[in-house]
Symmetry: C2
Subunit: 311 residues, 2 copies
Amino acid sequence: MSPASHLIAIDWGTSSLRAALMDRDGTILDRLQSGDGVMAMLGRDYAERFESLFGPWLDRHPTAVVLASGMVGSRQGWREAPYVACPASFEDLVRGIAYIEVEGRGRIGLVPGLVSDQAGPAPDVIRGEEVQVFGGMRLNGQASGIFVLPGTHSKWVVVEEGKIARFHTFMTGELYGLLKRHSILGKLMPEDSEPPFAPAAFEAGCRLALSDETGALLHRLFSVRTTGLFHRFTSEELPSYLSGLLIGEEVREAKALIGDHTPGPIQLICREDLARSYRLCLEAAGIDSAWIDDAAFLGLFDIARRNALIA
Amino acid sequence: MSPASHLIAIDWGTSSLRAALMDRDGTILDRLQSGDGVMAMLGRDYAERFESLFGPWLDRHPTAVVLASGMVGSRQGWREAPYVACPASFEDLVRGIAYIEVEGRGRIGLVPGLVSDQAGPAPDVIRGEEVQVFGGMRLNGQASGIFVLPGTHSKWVVVEEGKIARFHTFMTGELYGLLKRHSILGKLMPEDSEPPFAPAAFEAGCRLALSDETGALLHRLFSVRTTGLFHRFTSEELPSYLSGLLIGEEVREAKALIGDHTPGPIQLICREDLARSYRLCLEAAGIDSAWIDDAAFLGLFDIARRNALIA
């Protein structure tokens, strides 16, 4: 089979999907996104949804290579691409790609996730972010360092000699949402709205979380209630304070788990608003950082290119 | 006013209330409970509900003293009995009682809560449990030690020379409920039921949480997902594992915050099932403990008795 001239790169996650149609140079010709993440697809037909989303691109470029990363390749997704063990090189990841044949459209490659510390007491998994990390390495020409992907489940990924050596997940974003929406702490905050970011409250939360090496998250979360009760922060400031406590705790835990061997600044890969929060917190912890806003499509392009799937 | 011969002792908390009719010797003559905690009373008439609950007892004993502790004395309750600062003696607590006159029924005493470390970055508050701690001290003849009241918001109370010196709240129980009901971790657990306690899974959670001094709750919570994913625990065992992780983290944090100066075993005041979990975890942490199942009514009786309100 001769190499194709186009790539359809899909980042198909838990709550949404986004995709790019790219040419042989990696230029993005078209984009699309949808709320039909893996959760919304439960019990629905993937092939049908794939056709409705990507049929128009494939009509124009019938030989395009299709690669998808993220939860679409999980047991709860379209088909499982089993986890590849760390340390994992780019080539290990590529070898783990699972292919699905879609009638009339050829095959789709599902990029596998990675598993870290599988034999330990707390194994860890990643699915989707690993492609962004390889994309980020390529973007920076960087073969070692720490990449951080903040979000619902933040990932701290340690890269050594071009391989993903290990990583740690932190449930920071999910906990923020749970506490804001469903806990007693949320009752002190504005309902049904996300007030503007309050830097002083956020930094106070970070400082408290980073104030000692042993931490005390279960205890300090309660200070969201008491600082509200004693009017130290307004109702509008409390979400930022809570966010500071949680991100500060994430940074404290990551420092303890990963140790101090950071070669160069931490590479953040995330939306701009999250990058602002994380950079403030990392600064408070005395850690240098740099920001990459997105590397998913680049990572998928790199897989296609280095495997001579497109040319 | 001559001392009364009966006490109506009410523990009126956030989600429920329970009360005892006691004679001058502290013998409980009758009990009642209701789901009309402070949350359920929002916007409703306290005097009316009080009459419907306690009218029958007061008809029989019109001169009975009425004392209520718990969130009923908070800003969101019937009337605020402002927080008393730590260190707080039994007498300080009594001086803080706020009285409400109820037409035709005389006055009701609302026991205040306490505030700890009010000037610090994370002030802490307690309302209801302080009465149990004084009750527990009386029960044990103990003037110093650590009392632990596990629950939605666990309280670790440090008693020195008969005073509540300080305390720390941990949002352990609330977080357990949130994670089980609303998070991605809960999706791996049985729906709408609380499976039987699984000691091995619980202890595995405790051991992981207690495995180092720095802790890593945001990270280790994710192991509930991965240990489920890799079939280390069954769906029915995962709630116990999650509970172990959280209670283990609470014990780790409390050790770091309070330090090692425990004179004698920790006194647990709680329901039997919680006592079993906490004692298993404390044992794993090398901490001795003893159990008191309830001291709320005793604490209120002690307030009435030592102030010569009943005789």
